[in-house]
Every structure is written in structure tokens, then in C-alpha cells.
Subunit: 201 residues, 4 copies
DNA sequence: GATGAATGAGTTTTCATTCAT
DNA sequence: TATGAATGAAAACTCATTCAT
């Protein structure tokens, strides 16, 4: 076996470890996860984990960055395009849902961490910067809309993201099919509580 | 000291322990919280915790029930009233926000737990039944509205609750003032993305 | 049992732990010593060690300070007295030997550490300041003597201390009786190699 | 490459490994030294260490023997010469200091080991026999001197060796220049504490 | 009933040694 | 023969729980 494939095998092993860690952290959370479990699930010895990561915390942090990169990174690219706001938002929705669906493995950790990320003040957890960048970029796009929330882009972005996340979680738990852009777009362009119509007749 | 005041003192101590546990669990999560920290914050010895609760898990569970009772319970009462849907929803919003604002101490735990609760399938965590009841009841009310989501009351309720929670978290983190019913009502009765207006010339 | 004797018991336990640690460290050195051994020898559980000391390193450091205090401290008091140099040195010798003999338990560690202490440059080990103070004070006294080494008090002190230490080690290993001041005084006031006499006849 | 130079290269590699091991053991002691460090410092892979030595202990033991051979061995040869005692001692001093100075690389380990060697009883460490032989031989020579210590050759030798070692350590730490025979000879032929002269008016 | 020190099982982490390439 | 990644036994350290006072 040449050097090339050695490197490839090593990279593969690293990925397997990350996958195992992801699944254990997703199930048990940071404190509940045990290094032995991760090793066992990755099919390696405990010591091997320390060949790739300096410790449990490093493994977790790496995972968060991986998650952020795979999900937020891709979405950010869309949000930064020069385009009319509505088509842009529609594309954002499509890409975001695709990114979430294609990365169902990391969804649990992603959603959990996104939630935790909002409590920056309470917990001194390191929020992957990409998440903040994502919210900012989304907020900027949304601020171009004629809407009372436009003056508060952070809150506006949080709400839109919250609606998408909620729908995805419901799907993740098997209570509904995975949402498509076609499903969610009406949801965002309609009031949740249709006051006027309800008042009609 | 008579029997009466002894009992009162004991109840008071129990409450202090719960308050301390709440604040520690909110900061660190279940696994991250240490019994010594809880005891210290309550101003008692570790042993005392075991006079009132059978262990860490019991303490946590009790707390969740307390939270559920103080927040969901109160809201449930409103949702079960016989009343026209819109005024009912308006009252629900008022009471829910009041419950959240008056219990800012437990908000952290509440929100964290509500989030975790959605991952029932993934984690074998005991979800306080009240939360499910709350979502059901809210769904039932919402299903009376003429809205495409009406046929999926669970999802509909989750989305509405998600919007409220997101707004509250933003406030909790100091990024906006605590939302009032007056603030949020328009938010729920307006589309997040006003497609038509945006299309207007 | 009242508070007084509780404190006393605790202090007693602490002393037992230190004694156990001392004996294990003396036998195995810092790296070779295991916390379980120390605990076992002290008749306590491992966890108990951590009630008194923050870790292995702290335990070791404390021990060194203890050693320094019990040996150097007492000797320093003598060296700082105002007195004619020869009687002072004689008293120093008496007290130093007494201190060493009365603390045979810590001698191993003491001597080992004194030796290591000389390699400050090589190893970043924290030398208890008292040892340096002791050498300085001894050097100062010695510098009052008419001797070619008087101009290098540090070296002079090191040599005198080295001779005493060597004699004590020999005794410790059972190769000679524990030296008395009466034994060692002639040794210090006589040349080790009597050149003149040897040249005589 | 012919068989000759292959052998030479291999011997060279072995020497490099020993040099690296020496420097690491000198800095960290036996337990504190890690095989990876030794390998790294030698510029080879860990596995290579095991091609030359059966393990860490073997490496250490080999080193001690090397040290003994390079230092004690050379000195022993002198001490076994038939010659009048004083010139012999003078030559011993010259050779010993030369051996130490020329082998400053192994000095740390040498001194550390000599010191440890004295605690044979306490620690089950394998003392290189050569060191004992050296002390015996030195004692035998010293016993020819008219001196009260002559009847205790082991102690006498230990003291003389101790004085030399102390002076060398001081030099090693940069607190004085490396001692020459000319420096140390007077030191050994003079009392450390000149009682009579001090008494002189 | 309250205390808080002692406990030890359970975790993380280290590192000498092996072995496939 | 040299390599260095994988191994897993062994060590340090943590913390929920107990129990004597």
C-alpha cells in the first residue's frame, strides 16, 4: 500500500471516529458521553482517539465546527449572493433544507447546539462563529423586506430559523415527512394566525 | 417552636434546595451539575439533599414537574376554556408570556427541557406529560382556525410555541426587551415573509 | 465527640497521609509512586487523598515544604544567631545532626531532594526556598573563616553540607552508626588528605 | 554500500539513540522519560528503539553501564596502579575530573545515579557494580593514609567522592568554573574548618 | 434532622510495546 | 530494517452516595 492510500485510510479512520463521537454525543450529550463508548462504536481502542484529538473536549469542539461547516457554510454562500430578496430567500430555504436532509446524521447535534448557542450569556460555551455569521447574513437579507421585524434583523432571523428548525425536528421525530421548500414556503409567507380571515363573515 | 412552624421551615428549606438545583441544572445541564454545587448554593450540606430527595435524578425530575406545573399547568387551564378561538389565543399568549416572565428563574431549564423533549425518540428522557398535554391542547385550539396547518395540530402547535420560545430566548439573552402579548400578536398574525407586498411595485 | 477532637482527628489523618506519601515517594520517586499505594499505606480510600491535596503534585510539594521546614528551618535559626564563628559552627553541626536524626522518616526524601535541588538549571523543579536560604546563611557564617573558599560562600557551604550529607547517608544505609557532632567535627577540621603528615619522615 | 559501512552506520545509530536516551533520562529521570521523546530526540521512530534495546529498562541499564565504563572504568584503572599514595591520589583526581569534564553529557545521569546508588537498601535499583568497585578501590588507596577515617575505607571514599561531586555540580550549574585538580587538591588537603588558625589571635 | 468527610466505582488520560506495511 | 499508528493496561482524578457524629 502506498503513501497515498495510507493517508486516505487515516482520514477515513478519523471520519469514523467523528461519526461515532457524533452519534454518542447526540444520544448522551457532552457529559453523558464516555470515551470508551465512542471508541467502541468507532471500532478502535481508546488510545486511538487520543492520536487524533487531544481529549474529549477537543473531539466535541471539532465536531461542532464540522457541523457548522457542513450546514451553515453552504447556506452562507447562498445568503451572500447578489439577488432580489424573494428568489434569494426561496433559494436559501431550498439549500438549507437540502443541507439538513443530507446531513441527517449530524442533525441532532446541530439542532441541540444551535439551541445552546442562544444561551451564550448563561453558559460560557464556545459558539462556532459560523452560526452567528449565518444569523447575521440571514438577518441582512430579511431586513430588505417590508416587515415590522426588519429593524431587528437578529430577532427576525432567529424567528425564521426557529420555524424551519421546528418543522425539521418534527420530521426528525417521525411525526411528519421531511419538509420540502414547497411545504415551508407557504408557511413563511402566511400568518400563523390568520386574524383577518377568522374575523370574516 | 411548635409543630406548625417546624413544618413551615422544612418546606422553606425544600424550596431553597429546589431553587439552588434549578439554577445549577440550568447552567450546567443534568450531567454537568454536581450535588456539592447544589448544596453549596442552597446553603446546606450535601447530606441534607438526600433528606428531601432520593438522589440527583429525583431532584431533577421533581424540578421538571415543578416547571411544568408552574408554566404549562397555568397555560393549560386557559386553553381548556370554552371560548371563541381568537380571544382564547390572545389570552393564551398573555398568560403564557406572564408565566414565563414571572418564572424567569426556571426559564433556562424550561426552555432547555422543552427542546430536549422534542427528541423523545432519540433520548430515553422522561418527558413531563404536561408538556405533551400542553401541545395537544394548543393544537386543538389552533385546529379551529382556517389554516393549512390545521390538519396537523401537533406541528402547528409546535411552530407557534417555537416562535414564542425564540422571542423569549432573545429577550433572555438581553438582545431585546421581554416580549409582551402586544408585541407578539402581530407577529403571529402576519406572515414572516410578506410575499405579496414585496411583489408590489 | 466535640469539634475540638474532630479537628484533631482530621489533622491526624492528614499527617498519616503525608507519612504514607513520604514513604512511597522515598521508595519510588515522584513518577514511580502511585496514588493507590499512598492511599493503601495511609489506610484510606484514594478519594480521601483528594480531600486534603489537590493532586499528586500538590502532595509532593507539600511534603517538600514540610521537610524543608522541619530540617532547614530549625538549622537556620541557629545560623542566624550572633556568636563567634567556631562555637556557632559547632552548634550548627549539633543541631543539624539532631534534626536529621529526629526526622529519619523524611531523610530519604530530604536528601534526594537536596540533591535534585542543585540541578535547578536542568530541571524546572521548584526548590523550597528554605534550602537556598539555608545555604546562604551557612555560607555567610563560613565566610568569616580564614580559608581560601571564604570568597565563594555558596560553594563552601555546599561542600560542608555535602560532607555532612554523605556521612548521614552512609549511616542511613547501615554502613556506619549515625554520626554525632563529636564524630564529624574532627572530620571538618582536618584535611581529608593529610599531605604534610604523609610527606613527613 | 558494503557490509562494513552498514555495520558502521548501525553502530552510529545505536550511539545516537543512547545519546538521546541519556539526555532525556538526565532531564526527567527514569519514570519521567518517555520513549517517544527519546525516539524524537534521536531522530528515529519508536519502533527502532526496540530494534536495539528490549525496552525502556534495558535502554536505561545499558546507559548506566556506559556511564560506569566511561567514568568509573577509567578511574578504576588509575586506582589499581601500584604507586605511592599521594601521587596516586593526585593522578586519580586529575583523571576523575578529566573523565567528568569530557563526559559532561552524561554527568547529569551519572551524578543522579551515584546518588541513588547510595540508597541501595531503600530502592531495589540495580547498582552498576562498577560504582561499588570504584568506591572500594578508592577506599583501599585512602586507607594507606594516616587518617582517622582510614579504618573506614567505604565512608572515607564516599566523603572524598562527595566533595568532588559537590564541586562538579556547582560548576555544572554555572555557579563556578569547572574545577581542576589544582583547585581541588588544596581543598582535600586542607581542613574545611581551620580550627586552630581561627583560634589564633 | 443536619452535617460533611470518607468512600470507591467509574471516567479520562497516558504511554510502553507491538506489528502490519 | 525502519516506521509510526494502534493498542490497552495502568494511572490520575471525579463525584454521587453513605453514615458516624
Amino acid at each position: 500500500m502506498n503513501r497515498r492510500s495510507k493517508k486516505a485510510l487515516r482520514a477515513e479512520l478519523r471520519r469514523e471516529i467523528l461519526a461515532a463521537a457524533l452519534s454518542v454525543f447526540s444520544e448522551k450529550g457532552f457529559h453523558g458521553a464516555r470515551m470508551v463508548d465512542i471508541a467502541r462504536r468507532a471500532g478502535v481502542a481508546v488510545g486511538t482517539l487520543y492520536q487524533f484529538f487531544s481529549g474529549k473536549a477537543d473531539l466535541y469542539q471539532t465536531l461542532l465546527e464540522e457541523v457548522a461547516r457542513r450546514i451553515h457554510g453552504r447556506v452562507l454562500a447562498v445568503l451572500r449572493k447578489e439577488a432580489p430578496v424573494l428568489p434569494l430567500l426561496r433559494e436559501f430555504l431550498t439549500v438549507k433544507l437540502a443541507a439538513l436532509e443530507e446531513n441527517q446524521d449530524i442533525l441532532g447535534l446541530h439542532l441541540r447546539e444551535v439551541w445552546e448557542a442562544r444561551f451564550q450569556g448563561v453558559r460560557a460555551r464556545v459558539l462556532p462563529e459560523l452560526y452567528e455569521e449565518y444569523l447575521s447574513a440571514l438577518g441582512e437579507v430579511l431586513s430588505r423586506l417590508p416587515h415590522p421585524l426588519s429593524s431587528r434583523p437578529r430577532l427576525y432571523a432567529a424567528l425564521v430559523d426557529g420555524v424551519i428548525a421546528t418543522a425539521v425536528v418534527e420530521a426528525l421525530e417521525g411525526r411528519s415527512p421531511f419538509p420540502t421548500a414547497k411545504d415551508l414556503w407557504p408557511l413563511l409567507t402566511r400568518a400563523l394566525i390568520p386574524e383577518e380571515e377568522a374575523h370574516a363573515p
